[in-house]
């Protein structure tokens, strides 16, 4: 291996992993853009065009990965515009300057950050169409209104399409009025996703489906051990495979470029590579677990303290330890990215949640300026945080630059599972003591795990992405202390759906259930008793509205028949559990009740989940229900099956056979109840997930009297607990 290759490798790797970010995540918003007055249509901003035939095209500045954002954004514009929904289409914004900073799509922030700006886009256009019509009719514009794709004044009606030319000549108003909530006709109704017809016809274009003239397809062999270095390459056999065109060493490994995916895979199988496996060659899950144990014995950072904190712990304190595994994302569409690098321009076509995060790396590889680079974003075959990472873009750019033709890098399923940016594992130690009324008077939560921020070299404090669900515990407990200790790991880490709220609420909501049972109280009543004060308060730096959390708990319990179930004679092996989480980052409160059956072989069947969600104003209830269902199923897969382990520095799992997913037959009935609200809309992509694992754990306890404190809750662990 040449010196130059070593240099390229280290440079690119560190560039790829050093993401250019401000300390706080940025979520791009549509900025006002100079009106485009050329062309046939009326385009008062880069995000909207109305054509002469009345077609309304909206450009979405957030990536669509199934969360329904393209449809919600279009609804916001169409509502204010007074559009005929059947005329509305949606296109995807690229990183072209006219669309401004796309930021990232994640953190359940898209609706929060773009709802008002997209309403403004629609309102601006509506006011201009009204002005154009009023001028034509020579009437007071205040007597005109937009309705179903027409501007209307008494008996006069003009379709939007006939006004585009006149409207294009007008100046956009500075502060167009927004509709009152009571006048909404589209927002708040069940609207089917705009991408649905293309999806069911097989015409929807995902990243994997794209093709450019002369494009080659690459399959990349990466170090089997995280951080390993390439020692030698023997590629003669690979090059002899029919269809293989090039074999290229890139920063992450060796890429085989071919005229079909099959040839690329066959060529890759024929590679003979030697790796210097480096520092992690003997790393294992067992060793990582021991590391967590050792670290948890040391002092960490106290991230929240109320009252006297742990010093107030009573003599009869209750203690428990919980652990959660590392997880892979396993999107249905394996990672993929396509790049077309030319001497003066670079086009990327990649299903990305964070194109901006790849820019610095693309510039470094190509030597091009930002304005010479454009990232185009097709549909994402699932994201869940994985596609915020730049690795698949970096690889495609390196391959295309070296080959001089467009290259699509296609991950296999094995690549996707074994070269992920993983959800960190964690180890937790909890203590609490109860007062005379049986309510917690002191709560201590100490936990350790590796830092996502540190792993990604983010300019954030190391604990930034580890605390949600722990430091923002919502319950009123007079003495409370939360402490986080940083551990190391060989795993590269990333953002996984709900990030730390994918594991911390399992721990806190399970332990709270333990306390309720210890106190001999109903777990619902116990929680409600700890949410009695309605004043909004700060918890862990976020603003909590305790009444909203209490309400979703009571609503989920009521709809699930919580009281009646507990009064009735229960069937052998059946249990009911409740859990809730205030997802304060995105302003959404969710409670879930799970009904489970624990079978004699230790396996768990979740029969029914009742979910209550308060996400503020419900923009598209049909999609909110879908996202809650999605969070429940995604969370159940993790709760019952999900675990990534390491042996000899290698990820053990390689596909759906050993990293199993919940199947249709295992899918519980899911009921979603949405709280009516006029509060600003909150996010819904993640909040359905956090309560499900603890709701199931609490239901297993209800069914068996055994507490499972380790994820995933496998039959093996349940049988072991039953024998204990």
């Amino acid at each position: 291996m040449s010196t130059r290759r070593d240099f390229v490798k280290t440079t690119c790797l560190s560039l790829a992993l050093t993401l250019p970010l401000e300390p706080k995540l940025r979520f791009g918003q549509p900025e006002p853009v100079e009106p485009e007055k050329s062309g046939d249509g009326f385009a008062p901003s880069a995000f909207l065009r109305i054509d002469g035939d009345g077609t309304i095209t909206i450009w979405a500045n957030k990536s669509e990965m199934g969360q329904g954002i393209r449809t919600s954004m279009a609804m916001a514009v169409a509502e204010e515009l007074g559009a005929d929904w059947s005329k509305v289409k949606v296109q995807q914004a690229s990183t072209a300057a006219k669309f401004g900073d796309l930021g990232i799509t994640g953190g359940s922030q898209s609706t929060r950050s773009t709802f008002q700006p997209y309403r403004m886009v629609g309102a601006t256009a509506r006011e201009m169409l009204i002005s154009a019509a009023a001028a034509k009719w020579q009437v007071d514009r205040a007597t005109c209104q937009a309705e179903q794709g027409f501007i209307v004044h008494g008996a006069n009606r003009l379709p939007f399409g006939e006004l585009v030319e006149a409207a294009s000549k007008l100046e956009p108003p500075k502060n167009p009025p927004l509709k009152a909530t009571k006048d909404f006709r589209i927002i708040g109704t069940d609207v089917k996703r705009l991408d649905g017809p293309d999806i069911v016809n097989g015409r929807a274009q995902f990243g994997s489906d794209l093709k450019l003239p002369g494009m080659l397809i690459a399959s990349v062999e990466r170090s089997p051990v995280f951080g390993g270095k390439l020692k030698s390459v023997h590629d003669a056999a690979a090059k002899a495979v029919p269809g293989v065109k090039r074999v290229i060493t890139i920063s992450s490994g060796v890429a085989v470029l071919a005229d079909s995916t099959w040839a690329a895979l066959k060529g890759r199988e024929a590679l003979k590579l030697q790796w210097d496996e480096g520092a992690h060659a003997s790393a294992s899950t067992l060793e990582i677990g021991k590391g967590f144990e050792t670290r948890l014995k040391t002092a960490g950072k106290v991230v929240r303290k109320e009252g006297q904190g742990a010093a107030a712990m009573g003599k009869n304190a209750i203690h428990a330890r919980y652990d959660c595994p590392f997880l892979a994302h396993a999107t249905m569409e394996p990672m993929v990215g396509m790049a077309d690098v030319k001497p003066d321009r670079c086009d990327i076509y990649a299903p990305s949640q964070g194109p901006a995060w790849s820019m610095a790396a693309i510039q470094a590889i190509t030597g091009l300026k930002a304005e010479q680079i454009e990232v185009h974003i097709p549909l994402l075959g699932g994201g869940f945080g994985r596609r915020a990472m730049p690795d698949f873009i970096v690889e495609a750019v390196e391959c295309s630059k070296a080959a001089g033709v467009p290259v699509k890098v296609q991950y296999s399923r094995e690549d996707d599972i074994q070269h992920d940016y993983y959800r960190p594992g964690s180890l937790h130690e909890l203590s609490a003591s109860l007062d005379a009324k049986g309510l917690p008077q002191a709560w201590q939560h100490r936990f350790t795990g590796p830092s996502i921020a540190a792993s990604l070299k983010m300019p954030w404090p190391p604990e930034a992405a580890e605390l949600s669900g722990a430091s923002d515990l919502a319950y009123e407990i007079p003495n409370l202390e939360v402490e986080w200790v940083q551990s190391d790991t060989p795993f590269p880490l990333g953002f996984w759906r709900a990030v730390p709220a994918s594991f911390n609420p399992f721990v806190t909501e399970s332990f709270l259930d333990e306390l309720a049972h210890k106190a001999g109280k109903d777990p619902l009543a116990f929680r409600v008793a700890l949410l009695q004060k309605d004043e909004k308060r700060k918890v862990g730096g976020e603003k909590l509205d305790p009444a909203r959390l209490r309400h979703v708990l009571e609503l989920a319990a009521e709809k699930a028949g919580w009281k009646a179930w507990h009064l009735a004679k229960r069937a052998q092996g059946f249990g009911l559990g409740i859990a809730a989480h205030a997802y304060l980052d995105c302003g959404t409160y969710v409670a879930e009740v799970a009904e489970v059956e624990v079978k004699t072989d230790g396996s768990v069947k979740v029969h029914r989940v009742v979910c209550a969600v308060d996400c503020g104003m419900a923009i598209n209830p049909l999609n909110i229900r879908a996202q809650m269902e999605s969070g429940v199923i995604f969370g159940l897969t993790a709760a019952l099956h999900g675990e990534i382990t390491l042996e000899k520095g290698r990820v053990v799992q390689s596909g759906f056979a050993d990293y199993p997913m919940l199947r249709l037959a295992d899918s519980p009935k899911i009921e979603v109840h949405i709280v009516k609200s006029d509060l600003p809309p909150g996010g819904v992509g993640e909040p359905g997930l956090p309560p499900i694992a603890p709701a199931v754990a609490n239901a297993i306890f209800s069914a068996t009297g055994k507490r499972i404190r380790s994820l995933p809750m496998t039959a093996e662990k349940i049988l072991k607990a039953a024998k204990a």
């Binding site: 990965m65 199934g66 329904g68 069940d190 089917k192 996703r193 991408d195 649905g196 017809p197 999806i199 069911v200 016809n201 097989g202 015409r203 929807a204 995902f206 994997s208 093709k211 397809i217 005229d259 079909s260 099959w262 040839a263 396993a330 999107t331 249905m332 569409e333 394996p334 549909l379 994402l380 075959g381 699932g382 994201g383 869940f384 296609q410 399923r413 209550a612 419900a618 209830p621 229900r625 879908a626 269902e629 999605s630 969070g631 429940v632 199923i633 596909g655 759906f656 056979a657 199947r663 249709l664 037959a665 899918s667 009935k669 899911i670 009921e671 979603v672 109840h673 709280v675 009516k676």
Partner: protein, 163 residues
Amino acid sequence: MTRVEFSLNGFSKAVEVDPDMPLLWVLRDVLGLTGTKFGCGAGVCGACTMHLEGEAVRACQTPIKEVAGKSVTTIEGLSKDGSHPVQKAWIEEDVAQCGYCQPGQIMQAAWLLSKHPHPTDADINEGMGDNICRCGTYNRIRCAIHRAAGDVPASTSSTGKGA
């Protein structure tokens, strides 16, 4: 390289490829029909489900040489305009989220209905058991299959309205 002739969505096709190349890659890379998706390459996720001689088959596990002289239907050929009852039911129930697995789900469901015109929940559990959806659209898939069969959905997905 071998010349293989087969029927694709009602049209005769001939390709000259490695006889071991799975039909999945012939469809996607050679013929440019990308509705059939790559999910695992191991026949365990169902994203590449299509019909071979009327049976639901995983394209990633079907070498092109085994397709010679046979009839293949992909999502693009299920109907001309999305009018197959399963496709219509998928829209009615707003099944898709990311949508990547859905062509495979739809092809599997269309096959299931050809075997069981009025499937029970148990038939659906069994018939759809090998198709993974990571977004968790399973309950809507179940409802959509009952709807496509012309049956009142026996189990509903989220029924909750405002509260």
